[in-house]
């Protein structure tokens, strides 16, 4: 469809890029663009032929041959299926074959709410722990590792003496600040 309308326009214009040869063979028409008009017709054609006509016919025949449902009270002891809660035949077909039932989506939402509550509870608990720890800031949290600082310090001093024996005494080693020598072992 798009191709046909465009070919028609192409047939009306002739391309003479180099020379006009006195007008022999046709001339380029000096006229405004027809592109918007053509594309509008293409869109109308597309949506009507592929959208309006098939779906309209489907809805028409569904209403002619099956028709809307009538409201009745629920019989005793009978649980209606999901598609029996709707009137239009098209809606009933969609509910029967395409859409999830209302109960399914409701319970899925309940599950989502429950999961989010678990996550929220965890975050609230973490925030509460941090708040309480912040009051005195003297509590060892879950992240504290009890380390034997003295043994690691001894090991590092021994390594330093081996290094000194290998490399020799380096001027400037004595400028290490006092805090660093007593520093906690950094894992």
């Amino acid at each position: 469809m798009a191709i046909l309308s465009r070919l028609l326009n192409v047939a009306k214009t002739t391309v003479n890029p180099v020379r006009s040869m006195g007008g022999i063979g046709g001339q380029v028409q000096n006229r405004p663009s027809r592109w918007n008009y053509d594309i509008f017709k293409d869109h109308i054609h597309f949506y009507v032929m592929l959208g309006v006509v098939p779906l309209g016919l489907a809805v028409l025949f569904a209403n002619i041959y099956e028709g809307p449902a009538v409201l009745k009270p629920i019989p005793e002891g009978y649980v209606p299926q999901e598609h029996e809660y709707y009137r239009s035949p098209v809606t009933r077909w969609f509910v029967k074959y395409v859409y999830p039932s209302q109960q399914q989506s409701y319970e899925q939402h309940l599950c989502q709410v429950w999961e989010e509550q678990k996550v929220t509870n965890m975050y609230q608990l973490m925030r509460e722990v941090k708040r309480v720890q912040k009051i005195h800031q003297d509590y060892k949290g879950w992240y504290v590792r009890e380390v034997d600082h003295a043994s690691y310090l001894r090991a590092s001093m021994k390594n330093h003496s081996i290094y000194e024996d290998t490399v020799g005494y380096v001027l400037g080693d004595e400028e290490v600040p006092k805090e660093k020598a007593e520093n906690v072992f950094r894992y």
């Binding site: 002619i64 041959y65 099956e66 028709g67 809307p68 449902a69 009538v70 409201l71 009745k72 009270p73 629920i74 209606p80 029996e84 809660y85 709707y86 009137r87 035949p89 009933r92 209302q102 309940l110 709410v113 429950w114 509550q117 509870n121």
Partner: protein, 192 residues
């Protein structure tokens, strides 16, 4: 229209003055539609049935634990459904009153009453008219609806409604029934 073969009796076609016009209107608008519908019924056969949904009752908000968000969510949904249903019930009662008045007021000169505020029928307090009972039922139901759902906003929650009841009971415990005024905060006279 149900699948039945009895003919629809056109209303007001027996009227001495407007019968002709009513028949004309019926023949133009109603008769072709009825004919067409009968043709469709012949093609379709027995129509399918559809039902109105029934929701099972779940625990209300006063039976839910504070941390049980699933229970609270379901109670809230039930509360919203109940609000819609009870609003519709109020509408039905109001319609009943309007229909009662319309039926009882009479027609022509007997319906002509001097312009006043209220219904053309005597439904003042103490009247023995049958519409008075209908009006009292509607007003009582309306008052109860306002007590339960009133002044909670456009999107109330079950918690708000429940706490409104709690606050009302506390207020009534302190000041007496609603509508009898508030008691001032005086020092206890029993200390004397």
């Amino acid at each position: 229209m149900a699948a039945s073969d009895k003919d629809e009796f056109p209303v007001y076609t027996n009227h001495p003055v407007f019968g002709g016009i009513a028949t004309l209107g019926y023949n133009i608008f109603a008769a072709p539609a009825i004919w067409f519908n009968k043709k469709l019924e012949a093609i379709r056969g027995e129509p399918q049935a559809f039902y109105h949904r029934r929701y099972p009752r779940v625990p209300t908000i006063d039976e839910c634990y504070r941390d049980d968000v699933v229970c609270r969510f379901e109670a809230n949904q039930q509360f919203m459904r109940d609000k819609l249903v009870e609003g519709q019930m109020i509408d039905i009662l109001r319609q009943r009153f309007n229909e009662c008045v319309f039926y009882e007021k009479g027609s022509g000169m007997s319906a002509y009453v001097p312009l006043h505020e209220g219904a053309p029928v005597d439904v003042s307090p103490g009247s023995t008219h049958q519409c008075r009972a209908v009006l009292e039922a509607f007003e009582k139901a309306n008052e109860n609806f306002f007590i339960k759902y009133g002044e909670l906003g456009k999107f109330p929650t079950a918690e708000q409604c429940y706490l409104k009841q709690k606050h009302r009971l506390m207020w009534e415990r302190r000041h007496g029934p609603v509508g009898t005024g508030m008691k001032t905060d005086e020092p206890a006279a029993s200390q004397e």
